[in-house]
């Protein structure tokens, strides 16, 4: 990589990180490769530290993102609070979406980085499972996936579009119905794991009948 290319890549990565993007090998392979090199990682981190931020990696080392270096001012805390609120607000619809996908694809693993999601596959599962259609309707009734569309196909397209906008999925082409999951899911799972540990989720919970029906598909 020439000096001009390195400089260009450096500024592009900095801009991307400051725009709150998650850099993973699926969303931005050149940037991910760049940051995977220790020297470049350090350069980017040092630059971010000069402006009060730092470079972080998800626990599974699948994605890079930008964090605050110090949380010592009220303004930073306020921004973090807003950020936290946004994250918390999307958790329930995201969990329901993950559960729906697992049921639709009849798999016991949730979406993870690099996984290919086919709209057609989910749609055909929806056609044969009214419980999943109800789940999709519930997801799109309010919150981050809210839409007035009432056809399952439209609702599904809307959810997938929202996930693309938020950086969780990448569409293979402008009119493609195939999507690839990005490394941002790893961050979401880190948040879920933290809350799970601290709030003792699932200790006394019994699966509902509705849920059982969905899983048995």
């Amino acid at each position: 990589m020439t000096q001009i290319n390195q400089s260009h890549e450096f500024s592009r990565i900095i801009e991307s990180l400051l725009a709150q993007n998650f850099i993973c090998q699926y969303a931005d392979p050149p940037a991910f490769e760049y940051l995977s090199k220790e020297t470049y990682y350090r350069h980017v981190d040092e630059f971010l530290q000069k402006i009060g931020r730092c470079l972080r990696q998800t626990d599974d080392q699948g994605a890079y993102y930008c964090a605050y270096l110090y949380i010592d001012s009220q303004s930073t805390r306020k921004q973090l609070s807003q950020q936290f609120r946004q994250t918390i607000n999307i958790l329930e619809p995201m969990v329901r979406w993950l559960s729906l996908c697992m049921s639709a694809t009849q798999r016991d693993a949730p979406i993870s980085a690099g996984e290919v999601i086919r709209q057609g596959e989910i749609l055909s599962a929806l056609e044969n499972a009214p419980a999943l259609v109800d789940d999709l309707a519930l997801i799109t009734r309010s919150g981050v996936f809210a839409t007035k569309k009432d056809r399952p196909n439209d609702q599904l397209s809307h959810v997938l579009m929202c996930l693309c906008e938020q950086g969780y999925l990448l569409r293979s082409g402008p009119s493609s119905s195939i999507y690839t999951a990005t490394g941002k899911w790893s961050y979401l799972f880190e948040v879920l794991e933290f809350i799970h540990t601290h709030e003792e989720i699932g200790v006394d919970d019994e699966p509902s009948g509705e849920h059982q029906e969905a899983l048995s598909l």
């Binding site: 725009a19 950020q83 969990v95 880190e190 933290f194 809350i195 699966p207 509902s208």
Partner: protein, 404 residues
């Protein structure tokens, strides 16, 4: 190429080169006859892994699985001792080595050769068997156990592969290389097998199996994490189904913000130069240096072509002024009447408002501006007198235009 096509290709190659394979099989050494005629056939058999090239000996020999197939089909009564149990195979190899050495000591040449061939077969089969076990594990790893869709199935297969690897490694540990080394030290052919071929294969297997363990553990870790995430999703979903109003605590409100929630907000990218800050001087200098290095953009220059085609231009008509016409009339009249004309007398024909001196100068200028051909028809005379004091000065008072 599909697996079906690949299989048919192998079977066709077996049929096509059946003679060559049978010659190798009958020779008891399983070594393919390599000549200029059979070179292509041997290459093809090597490519399809029907034969293997032994680096130590350098010959191409039949894969032990092919030989096994022929043994089973022909019900050959060979000294075949290799089986699934590696320990037994090793024991058999050592026994054959001992028999070989006894035959050699007794100078039973035929028996010695028979034992040697059998020993070579068994060592090669043992090595092939070890390598095949390793390859089988790697085939599973490379395919990511993709025959199974469920995560739990993949985890079970992964664990099974791990225990297979561990078992194979333990079996390799049972092979007493020092005993082998000792058994082969007295004979060149045995040294080839026990000092080089077998130890090298065992080492290769150990390395591959070590890598396989590392990879399998890594995969198992990932699979377990995925499984844990799957359970996490279902537990959260159940929790929300039961506690509709569930909302996590505000972790930002505490004195210590958990690392996981430290996600920087988007920062608008922009800025301005603080040109009065001396600490920025170096940065600005670098910027300016960089700016100078940039070459100025080339100007967009366009050329408008001017037509030089005179033929296309209409003849110009020069309109003469009244004054010019009056001056010219004087010259025309001079020629027409063929007599001298006084400048002062002709002044009456001058346009209104023209001074008499200008008129006279205009007549002189017209005369001087004429080309030689026109001027030869006229001559100009001056009427006046010399100055009384400065006699070189002639003061003209009138001009006379005369026809020649």
């Amino acid at each position: 190429m599909s697996a079906n096509d690949a299989g048919i290709k192998v079977l066709k190659a077996l049929g096509k080169h059946a003679d060559l394979i049978m010659v190798a099989y009958d020779s008891n050494q399983n070594i393919l006859l390599e000549t200029s005629v059979t070179a292509n056939a041997v290459d093809e058999l090597l490519r399809l892994r029907i034969a293997l090239r032994d680096d130590n000996i350098g010959d191409a020999r039949l894969n032990s699985s092919i030989k096994l197939l022929l043994d089973q089909s022909l019900k050959t009564n060979r000294l075949r001792m290799v089986n699934a149990d590696i320990a037994t195979a090793v024991e058999g190899v050592l026994l054959l080595a001992e028999q070989y050495k006894q035959a050699k000591r007794g100078a039973f040449e035929h028996d010695r050769l028979q034992y040697l061939h059998a020993l070579q077969d068994n060592v090669h089969e043992l090595c092939d068997s070890l390598l095949e076990q390793t390859r089988g594990i790697w085939r599973q790893i490379d395919s990511n156990f993709n025959t199974v869709a469920l995560l739990s199935g993949k985890i079970a297969l992964n664990k099974s592969a791990l225990s297979n690897v561990e078992r194979t490694l333990k079996t390799l540990d049972l092979i007493d290389l020092s005993e082998m080394y000792q058994a082969g030290s007295s004979d060149r052919a045995l040294r080839q097998l026990f000092h080089l071929h077998l130890p090298r294969t065992i080492e290769l297997c150990r390395q591959d199996l070590g890598d396989a363990i590392h990879r399998l553990n890594k995969m198992l870790f990932k699979l377990n994490r995925l499984a844990a995430r799957g359970r996490l999703v279902q537990q959260f979903r159940n929790h929300w189904d039961i506690n509709r109003s569930f909302e996590p605590a505000d972790y930002i409100a505490g004195s210590e913000v958990p690392t996981v929630f430290n996600l920087a907000s988007a920062m608008p990218i922009g800025g301005f130069a603080d040109i009065h800050n001396p600490s920025q001087e170096l940065s600005f200098s670098e910027m300016l240096t960089g700016l100078r290095k940039e070459r100025p953009a080339l100007e967009q220059q366009s050329v408008t072509r001017i037509s030089t085609d005179i033929a296309d231009q209409a003849p110009l008509e020069i309109k003469l002024s009244k004054f010019k016409m009056a001056v010219r009339d004087v010259f025309f009249n001079c020629l027409k009447d063929n007599k001298p004309i006084s400048g002062l007398e002709s002044y009456q024909g001058a346009p209104e408002g023209i001074d008499v001196e200008i008129w006279l100068y205009a007549l002189m200028a017209e005369y001087n501006a004429m080309d030689e051909d026109s001027r030869k028809y006229f001559s100009l005379e001056f009427e006046g007198e010399f100055d009384q004091t400065f006699s070189a000065n002639f003061k003209a008072e009138n001009i006379i235009l005369c026809p020649n």
